[in-house]
Structure formats: C-alpha cells, structure tokens
C-alpha cells in the first residue's frame, strides 16, 4: 500500500500540469483575441521545444546546443512533405525531382520530419555522448553550426539561405495544445522511467553510475535522440504555424530563447520547463509590446531594437547568479517531501566541484 501511495504522491503533479495547459488554452479561446491566440500557440510550441531540451539536458546534466538544428530538420522535412506541387515550384525551385510530387497529410508529415531528425541524431550523436563538460558543450555547439550550415546551403532541399514560403497554416491553438499535453506527459514519463532514473543517476555521479553497471553513453544517446524527436516535432508544428521561414530561424537566437526558458524554470524538472516557458513568454511579450509602443509613439528620438533581448539576458544572468537551479529546482511541484537525496560525490583525485571556480 505504501508504495502505491508513494507512487500517487510522486505523480500527482502531472494531472495538475496537464490541466494547467488545458486551462490556458480554453481561457485563450474564450477571450477570442487573435493576437493572444497566436502568442499562446507559439508558447505551446516553445513548450514542446523546452521539454525536448529538458529530456536530454535535465536528465543527463549535459548542456546541448544542437537541438534547435533538429527542429530545423523537422520543419524543412515536414514542409517539403505537405506543400503542393505548385507551391514547391515557387518556394524551392531546385528541389530534387523525386520529392516534388510527394504530398502527405499534415500530422503524418510532422511525424516523418521528427523521425528523419531522430535518425540523423542517432547516426551522428553517439560518439559525442562519450564527452563531458567543456568538450561535450563545444561539440554540441559545433553540431548546431554544422546543421545550420547544411540547412543554409543545401539548395536542393531547403532553398538555401532564402525564405521558404507557401506552407498552409495547419497548426492552430487546439493542435498545439494537444501536442503540448502529449509531450508534457512524455517528458514526465521519460524522467520517471527506469531509463530516466538511470540517466539521472549518471548525472549525479557519472562514475558511480558506471560502477553499478550502467552504460552511461548509451543512456545519454537514447535521451539525446528522444530529445531530437521532440524538438523536430515542434519544428514541424512551428513551420505550419508561421508558414514561411529561413534557416536563420533555427540558430542561435532561438537557442538562446529556449535555453532561457529552460534555465529560468529549472532544467531538472518538467514543472520547471512549463513554468519557465510561461514566465519567459509573458516577459518577452510584455517587453516586445513596450518596445513597439515606444517606437510607435516616438517616445525616444531613435528606433529601439534589441531592448527585449538585453533585458531578458540580464534576467537570465540574475537567475543564474541567484538561483542557478531555476525556479523549480529539484522536486516537481506537489510531489511532497521525498526520501534522502544522494549528494553528488566527486571521485578522488579530481578537483572538488565549486572549489576552483
């Protein structure tokens, strides 16, 4: 009985989180404001991206910059698969001929896009998972640059650095809400699965985890490709919301925004991912509105550009200094007091964490 109760306690936050997503969606559609509708739709797509980052970074403790590149793969693949023959003729004139006549339904295309990104991630990421710390971060950064360069130059698939347009706006608020719910549940399930538990063990102590027989590289690799799938899926949804985009959309600016959401909320928890996404979206939209109001009313003698990003960056630095684990750091909301948590143990001979820095 006790274990059943513990299990219920452990998972009781999940329905609350799901209900929260639904409540936000319903409230938005009751208001019926077009702008609000668009903001919330993008927020849910961003939420899926943040969850994608969370699945890998939160559970493995490794930072990855590469995920937005997989979002790009998902976006382009699904776009090529849903566009009509004429639209492709205009938007991607150099497209491989065999791809031109192919046209499949929207969600199927998003799935295929996510699967393609997953295969790419699976093929190239395994060796990177052996690395830790600086080396691991630099190589995921390198991966992002490589994916970006390829997207921006493969004219026969992506129309090169130019804008791809003419997608149909299949993604609306209900679609985004539905998939946000699916992926919140998926990220939750992943974290609490046996695989997630093992991965979190390796996060707290890589060597101890290896000692009890866990294949850390393989665990990280699995999480990485799950993460790539989620981000690519979000990419497909996003592409069919925004309907025109260029490779520049899948690079450092978005990486920064999504990382900010993840860090502010707390990368280790699913509740944190949701909280971070909501807070940063609200902050971002408020600042954007303020910025454009100032520009429209000519309150200052010059055009303000970049104010939003400046303030967000300052906010992020403050959060990192004051609360480096994010708002919801270790325990999911409502999960009650837990058992004792193992302190991370540094193996002897290596510098203790936090000492030198």
């Amino acid at each position: 009985m006790a274990s059943v109760r513990a299990s219920i306690t452990r998972h009781r936050a999940l329905p609350v989180l799901l209900v929260l997503v639904v409540v936000i969606a319903v409230t938005t559609s009751v208001f019926g404001d077009r702008l609000l509708d668009r903001i919330v739709t993008v927020m849910f797509i961003d939420l899926i991206l943040v969850l994608g980052f969370q699945v890998f970074s939160g559970n493995s403790g490794l930072l990855s910059f590469a995920q937005i590149g997989f979002m790009g793969i998902g976006a382009y693949t699904s776009a090529i698969l849903t566009m009509t023959v004429e639209a492709k003729g205009f938007a991607i004139p150099d497209l491989y001929p065999f791809l031109v006549p192919i046209q499949i339904p929207f969600i199927a295309a998003v799935f295929v896009g996510a699967v393609v990104a997953t295969l790419v991630a699976a093929a190239i990421s395994f060796p990177i998972m052996r690395l830790s710390d600086a080396a691991s971060v630099i190589s995921t950064f390198a991966l992002l640059v490589i994916l970006h360069v390829v997207l921006a130059h493969w004219s026969a698939l992506t129309n090169g650095p130019r804008v791809v347009f003419g997608l149909l706006p299949y993604t609306d608020l209900p679609t985004a809400t539905l998939w946000a719910i699916v992926f919140v549940a998926a990220a939750w399930a992943f974290k609490h699965s046996s695989l997630g538990l093992k991965l979190r063990a390796s996060r707290d102590s890589e060597f101890a985890a290896a000692t009890i027989g866990l294949n850390v590289v393989r665990l990280r690799w699995t999480a990485f490709i799950v993460s790539a799938f989620i981000c690519a899926f979000a990419g497909g949804l996003w592409a069919h919301f925004i309907t025109s985009f260029s490779p520049q959309a899948f690079y450092l600016t978005r990486t920064f925004l999504i990382l900010t959401m993840l860090i502010v909320g707390g990368p280790r928890t699913v509740s944190g991912a949701i909280a971070g996404t909501i807070i940063v979206t609200v902050a971002f939209e408020t600042l954007r509105t303020a910025e454009s109001t100032i520009n429209l009313e000519r309150l200052v003698p010059f055009q303000l550009v970049g104010l939003t990003e400046v303030i967000l960056a300052i906010g992020l630095i403050v959060v990192l200094a004051v609360r480096p684990g994010g708002l919801i750091e270790e325990r999911e909301i409502l999960s009650g007091p837990g058992g004792p948590r193992a302190e991370p143990v540094e193996p002897p001979g290596l510098e203790p964490a936090g000492e030198a820095r």
Partner: protein, 298 residues
Amino acid sequence: MDAEFLAQFALNALSLGSLYALMALGMAIVFGVLRLVNLAYGELLMVAGYTLFVLNDSPLPWLFVAGAAVLAASLASVLTERVAFRPVRVNSLNAMLITSFAVSTLLQNAALLLVSPRTRAVNVPGLLTQSLEIAGLRVSVANLITIGVSLSLLFGLNLLLRRTTLGLALRAAADDFPMTRMLGVRADRVIAAAFAISGVLAGVVGLFWIARVGSVVPTIGAGPLLIALIATVIGGMGGLAGAIAGGYVLGALTVGMQLLLPPGLIDYRDAFTFGIVILVLLVRPQGLIPGRQSARVG
C-alpha cells in the same frame, strides 16, 4: 605546384594562422583559469570595432584610435567578468557557460540598441589595403603587419607568462587552481588578469579582422568565436601552447581548403572544419598538445 605558389600559400597560412592563434590564445587563457568556454569572446571584437566606428571622425592618429579600441575590448572583458561571471562562478560549469551565452546576446543587442543593426563603415588606414611586390610575389601589407604584430604579441605574452609573478600565477592557475589558491594567490585577481589579457588579444584581433572587412555589424563576433573554439579544440584545451598550435593548424587548413576544395563544396567549409573539431574531440580529446592537467571529468 611551383615554388611561387607554395610561398604564397605559406605566407597566407602564416598570416591567417597568426591571427587565429591570437584568437585562440585569448580564449584559452580564460579557459585555463576558469574552465569556461567564453561564448561572449567574439563580442569583445565587436566592442573594438564599434570603438573604431565611434572614433571615426576624431582627429587623433589612427594608432591612438586603435589603442583605444584594444583598451575598450579589454575593459569590456574585465567588466563582463566582474558583473556576470564572478557571481555565477561558484555554481556549475553549465551555469557559467549559459551566462557567457547570455552576455554574448546582451552585448550584441546592446549594439543593436545603441548603434544600429546596419553595417557601419570603419576607417582603415590606406597602408593596410596596399600590397607590395617582393621577389615576384604579391604580398599585402596587412598580411605582413598581421604576422609582425602577432609574433611580437606572442613573444611579449611569453615574457609576461615566464618572467613575471602574475605570469607565474596564471600558469600555475591553469595547471591546478585549487593548489594555486592554497599557496596564497588571490583568485579574483588572477581571473581578472586573465580576462584583461583575453580582452587585449580580442581587441588586437578585432583591429585586423575589421580592417579586412572595413566595417562592423553587431554579429561580427560570431566568426571569430567559432574560429577560436575550433583552434583551441584542435590544439588542446589544457594549455596555452596548444591554442597557438591549433590557431596555426586551422589557418593552414582554411587556406588549404580554400585552394583545394571543389567550388561546390566551398560553401560547406564551416561544416567541414566543425566536423574536424568533433573528430579531434573523439580521436584525440586532449588535442595536439595536451596540457599537463587532465580534463575535469571523462
């Protein structure tokens, strides 16, 4: 391939390599003391560039303006350390990394906000755009000056590191920081000094980088950042010698790829170089010249 071609290649590779070596060194010197991959490093070049732009119309001789630009980059570097990195230093490595990413975004957007998103032309002394004929070779003056300045900077830095107390502290800190602190070296000072030197190097590189293009944009730091990253990885992140070696290897690789890659693949040059990075990390994670200290974990 005739001798002339080879000489031209060697000269170009040496010039570009010197520049890359300086970039990598600026990155490595901070990595040495903090284990921080400073993603805001490229923005220091941008600071130097905008200082040049602001002083475009000043009556001062160009060398003074250049000096001011280098100084500004160094100040910016120290300031970011004081304001952003010091408060998060005790937290995880990832926290510091993301902070540097945030600082990079912050500086870039500050430039957007305070100057303009558009390209701004910068005065470049005519000397830097001329070229000479030496023994039948066309040699650009900028290349020669780059080589000269880089080599003297490397030499000067070597003296600083080998002959001064600060240099000793910096080298010791790069080797084993906790031990260095136990011996009574003030961590804050060493770190601030490392950032100051890093800023000077970024500033000097910025001068040459911007002189090549003749203008500055908020995103100008991205290229140099990537180069510095690649060079430090190829050379080895453990020590400073590795960074220099990595810079020269990358310079030669870049010039070589420009000459040898078929035209259709030149566009993918960055993807190739980053592919090399990942390869190096996998096959020889310690780089060409491994530092004395082993990596923290893994």
